[in-house]
C-alpha cells in the first residue's frame, strides 16, 4: 500500500551481460531510500528501469501502485541524472530557463509561463541556494552549482517522488550538508519520497530511512541501524574481500581494499 516504487524480482541485462539480478524492493510514501554500490554495480541502470527508459527482462515494476506500462503521471517524479551536467557547456541558456523546463511536462503543450509558474521557478532556485543567479548562463557556473540547477529543475514541479543519481559529485562539503538539509526539508514538509544514489556511505546512513546495497544483486535492504551493525560483513560482500572499515573523527567512513 502507498508504495511509490515497487520492484518485484526484477532482472535486466545489456546485450549479454546480466547487470541486475532478482531485485525486489519498495519505497513507500514519505520515505528516504539511499542506494549504494561500487562503480558499475547497476545503480544507474536500476534507476533507468524505474523511469521507464529501459524495460526489465524479468519481474515487475510498479509506480504509485500502477504497473509501469500504465503509469502516465510522470510529472509526479523529479529526476536528476548522473550525467545531468555533461551538457554542451556553451549552450546559451540561463539558470531560469533551464529550471523552467522542469515545469513544461506539467503545464502541457501550447502554454506559456505565467506569473504563478515564474514564482515557482524562483522558489526552486532559492531552495537550492542559487538566488541571484537566475539570469546567469548555466555553462559559466561551477560543476556543483550546475548540479544544483538540475536539482532545482527536478523539484520545481513539486514531485511526490524525487530520484537523484549521485547529485553531490563535485559539490563541496558545505553545500553537501546544505543539500541533505534541503532534501530532509522536502521530505518532512512536503512528504516527498526520495531515492538517492550515492557513493558517500557515511552521509547516506546518517540521513536516510532505508539503505539498499547493490552489486548486481541486492546485498542489503533495510534500516541504517541494521546496516551499521553488520557493516563490515556487508561491505566486504559488496565490494569484494579485504575491505577495512576506517572511521574518521569527522564522521566520514572510508573503505579501503
Amino acid at each position: 500500500m502507498n508504495a511509490c516504487i515497487k520492484l518485484n524480482s526484477v532482472s535486466f541485462k545489456y546485450d549479454h551481460s546480466i547487470v541486475l539480478e532478482n531485485i525486489s524492493l519498495s519505497l513507500h510514501k514519505g520515505e528516504f531510500l539511499g542506494l549504494i554500490g561500487p562503480n558499475g554495480s547497476g545503480k544507474s541502470t536500476l534507476i533507468k528501469l524505474i523511469l521507464g527508459m529501459q524495460k526489465p527482462m524479468e519481474g515487475e515494476i510498479e509506480l504509485f501502485d500502477h504497473p509501469i506500462k500504465q503509469f502516465k503521471e510522470w510529472p509526479k517524479i523529479g529526476y536528476v541524472s548522473q550525467k545531468a551536467n555533461t551538457f554542451n557547456g556553451g549552450f546559451p541558456a540561463t539558470v531560469f530557463e533551464v529550471v523552467s523546463t522542469g515545469l513544461y511536462g506539467k503545464m502541457g503543450i501550447f502554454k506559456w509561463l505565467g506569473k504563478y509558474e515564474k514564482e515557482k521557478i524562483m522558489e526552486a532556485i532559492h531552495l537550492v541556494g542559487l538566488s541571484g543567479y537566475e539570469k546567469r548562463n548555466i555553462g559559466k557556473l561551477s560543476g556543483g552549482q550546475q548540479q544544483r540547477v538540475f536539482i532545482a529543475r527536478a523539484i520545481v514541479s513539486e514531485p511526490e517522488l524525487l530520484i537523484l543519481d549521485e547529485p553531490t559529485v563535485g559539490v563541496d562539503g558545505k553545500s553537501e550538508s546544505e543539500f541533505y538539509q534541503t532534501l530532509q526539508k522536502l521530505q518532512r514538509e512536503l512528504h516527498v519520497s526520495i531515492l538517492l544514489v550515492s557513493h558517500d556511505i557515511g552521509a547516506i546512513t546518517a540521513h536516510v530511512d532505508l539503505v539498499a546495497c547493490l552489486n548486481r544483486k541486492l546485498f542489503f535492504y533495510g534500516k541504517p541501524m541494521e546496516f551499521e551493525l553488520n557493516q563490515t560483513q556487508i561491505m566486504s560482500e559488496l565490494y569484494g574481500q579485504n575491505i577495512h572499515v576506517l572511521k574518521h573523527n569527522h564522521g566520514g567512513i572510508h573503505y579501503v581494499k
Partner: protein, 283 residues
C-alpha cells in the same frame, strides 16, 4: 528613398519574413551543432528544383504549380535523412553532413546537366535574386513564413526543452520524437522558401551568421533568438539598400553585411574585454 521602398515592396516584405524565420531556425540548428545542415538542405532543395524542371521539360503537360514544391519536398527528405544518419552513427553524428552534402550536390549537377539545352536559369537558384521577386513569391513566402512562426510560438518551450535535454524532456512527457520531427520540417520549409530569395549558396550563411553574432552577446536562449533576429533583419535591409544603390548581387551583399556585423561585434567584445582586464589590473 520612398520610391525605392515602393518599387521593391515585395522584396522588403519577403526579406522581413525571411529575416525573422531564418535566425529562429538557425538558432536551433546552431545549438544542436548542426550549423552545416543548411548547406545540405539547400543542396537537396536545389536538386528537387532540378528534378522538377527536368520533369516539366520532358513531360510537356505535367502540372508544376511552382518548382519550390519540389525543392521543399527534397529538403524535407534531406532533413529526415540527416536525422536518420545521426541516429545510425551516434558517436560520429556529423558524418551525415558530408555524405548528404555530396549526394545533394552530385544529384543537382547530374540533373541539371541532363537538362542541357533546356533553358533553365540555375543562376537564379544558386544565388537568388531578392530584387526580382514577384507577388507569387511573396504569397508563398508569407504562407510558409506564417506557418513556421505560428508553430514556433506555440511550441517554443517544447522546442527549447528537447533541444537542451532530449532525454529529460521525454521523461517529463514531452513527445520528443514529434517535436524533433516538427523542428526538422520547419528547418526544411524555411530553407526551401529562402533559397528563392537568397540563393542556395547563401541560405546557410543567413541562418548561421546572425546567430553567431548573437551568441557573442547573449547569456540565455530567448535573448539569443531576439538578437539573432535583430542582426538578421538589419543585415537584410542594409544589404538590400546597398545592392540596389551600387547594383550588386543582393544575396551576396546581405551575407557580407552579416559577416561585417559579426566581425564588428567580435572586435567590440574583444576590445571591451581587454579594457576591462586593463582596468582590473590597474587596481
Amino acid at each position: 528613398m520612398l520610391e525605392f521602398i515602393y518599387e521593391f515592396r515585395y522584396a522588403f516584405a519577403i526579406s522581413l519574413i525571411v529575416g525573422i524565420i531564418c535566425p529562429f531556425v538557425g538558432t536551433f540548428i546552431v545549438v544542436r551543432r548542426l550549423s552545416v545542415i543548411g548547406e545540405v538542405l539547400s543542396n537537396m532543395s536545389l536538386s528537387g528544383v532540378a528534378l522538377g524542371s527536368l520533369l516539366g521539360s520532358i513531360i510537356p503537360f505535367s502540372f508544376v504549380p511552382t518548382l519550390q514544391i519540389y525543392g521543399t519536398f527534397f529538403a524535407i527528405i534531406g532533413a529526415l535523412l540527416v536525422e536518420w544518419l545521426r541516429k545510425r552513427f551516434p558517436s560520429f553524428s556529423e558524418i551525415s553532413i558530408p555524405i548528404l552534402l555530396a549526394f545533394g550536390m552530385g544529384l543537382s549537377v547530374v540533373l541539371f546537366s541532363a537538362m542541357n539545352g533546356f533553358n533553365v536559369n540555375i543562376q537564379a537558384y544558386l544565388f537568388g535574386n531578392l530584387l526580382a521577386v514577384n507577388k507569387t513569391d511573396l504569397i508563398t513566402t508569407l504562407v510558409i513564413g506564417c506557418v513556421v512562426l505560428i508553430i514556433f510560438l506555440l511550441l517554443y518551450k517544447e522546442f527549447f526543452a528537447v533541444t537542451f535535454d532530449a532525454e529529460y524532456s521525454r521523461l517529463i512527457g514531452i513527445p520528443r520524437r514529434l517535436i524533433q520531427f516538427l523542428l526538422i520540417i520547419i528547418i526544411a520549409l524555411t530553407i526551401s522558401v529562402t533559397v528563392r530569395s537568397i540563393g542556395s549558396m547563401l541560405v546557410s550563411g543567413l541562418m548561421v551568421l546572425p546567430v553567431a553574432t548573437s551568441l557573442l552577446i547573449s547569456r540565455g536562449f530567448k535573448s539569443l533568438l531576439l538578437f539573432s533576429m535583430l542582426f538578421s533583419v538589419t543585415a537584410i535591409f542594409i544589404g538590400l539598400f546597398f545592392s540596389y544603390l551600387f547594383n550588386l548581387a543582393t544575396g551576396g551583399t546581405i551575407i557580407l553585411i552579416s559577416a561585417l556585423l559579426f566581425l564588428s561585434v567580435l572586435l567590440i567584445k574583444k576590445w571591451g574585454f581587454q579594457t576591462s582586464i586593463a582596468n582590473s589590473k590597474s587596481y
